[in-house]
């Protein structure tokens, strides 16, 4: 009988012709797996971002004194931290939007080929990072 596990994983040492259930701990990272996890992670990050936008809108509606708290924070040392969070939020939103388009394509039954899926996973991460860099460099120059 052929050894079903040539790598010699001790968890799967017993030779068997039955299908093996995947062990999470021995799975190799691949692009589609990373992009799937990143979709959830950016979704949760966008949730936090939306909470912050809502707080910001309430501050704006509460009047100049309340809005000054936000403006003072942006002007001080805390502004650097806020800008880093906003850069992260820009990546998070742009990644989730681009990968969301892919989810809509999947719903239409498109884009399931393994090679193309890997390519698009990498492409979407690169595009989101490039857009984030472009938007913030563009805003800094302008």
């Amino acid at each position: 009988m052929d050894n079903p596990c040539p790598e010699g994983d001790p968890l799967m040492a017993a030779p068997s012709s039955r299908p093996l259930s995947p062990h999470v701990s021995v799975w190799r990272w691949h692009a589609t797996m990373a992009s799937s996890i990143l979709h959830r992670a950016t979704g949760v990050a966008n949730y936090i971002g939306a909470v912050l936008i809502a707080v910001w809108l309430v501050m704006a509606a509460a009047g100049p004194e309340a809005y000054a708290v936000w403006e003072d924070a942006m002007a001080g040392a805390l502004g650097i931290v806020i800008r880093i969070i906003l850069i992260g939020f820009t990546f998070s939103v742009s990644y989730h939007l681009l990968n969301g388009l892919r989810h809509l394509a999947w719903d239409a039954g498109l884009g399931f080929d393994p090679k193309g899926s890997n390519l698009r996973s990498v492409l979407i991460i690169v595009l989101a990072a490039a857009f984030t860099a472009g938007a913030w460099i563009g805003a800094w120059i302008a």
Partner: protein, 125 residues
């Protein structure tokens, strides 16, 4: 496609899931709305926020700014309530913790929506 459901299961209703495809459809429709709304909303906010309190509140209170903000935030809060519900259902298995998080998720999104609605309408009036 072959129909695997028995006549009895159809009469009894939605089965052990206790719900149909409403969650799935709501998630997709809000996603389609957000693909259009979110880039316009975030770009508008980013290009107005530099002008200080007067310019920012003038934009948020203008017909375009107010309607855009309400559309984008309504779609976003609806979409993220559904999304986080799925995350909680997938990873949290203790019934009490799960119930607390699911109820909290709904109340946070509903509360934020009312706060956003009030704020934008106050600026627009």
């Amino acid at each position: 496609m072959t129909d695997f459901r028995t006549p009895l299961s159809k009469v009894r209703g939605l089965g052990s899931a206790r719900s149909g495809v409403g969650h799935f459809i709501g998630q997709r429709i809000s996603a389609i709305a957000l693909v259009v709304l979110m880039p316009i909303f975030l770009f508008s906010i980013a290009s107005n926020v530099g002008g200080g309190y007067e310019e920012t509140t003038a934009f948020l209170g203008s017909p375009f700014g107010a309607i855009l903000t309400l559309l984008a935030m309504t779609a976003a809060l609806y979409h993220m309530r559904l999304g986080l519900q799925t995350v909680v259902e997938d990873y949290i298995h203790k019934p009490a913790t799960k119930a607390v998080l699911l109820i909290g998720n709904t109340l946070i999104c509903a509360g934020l929506w009312l706060a956003v609605l009030y704020s934008v309408l106050a600026l627009a009036s």
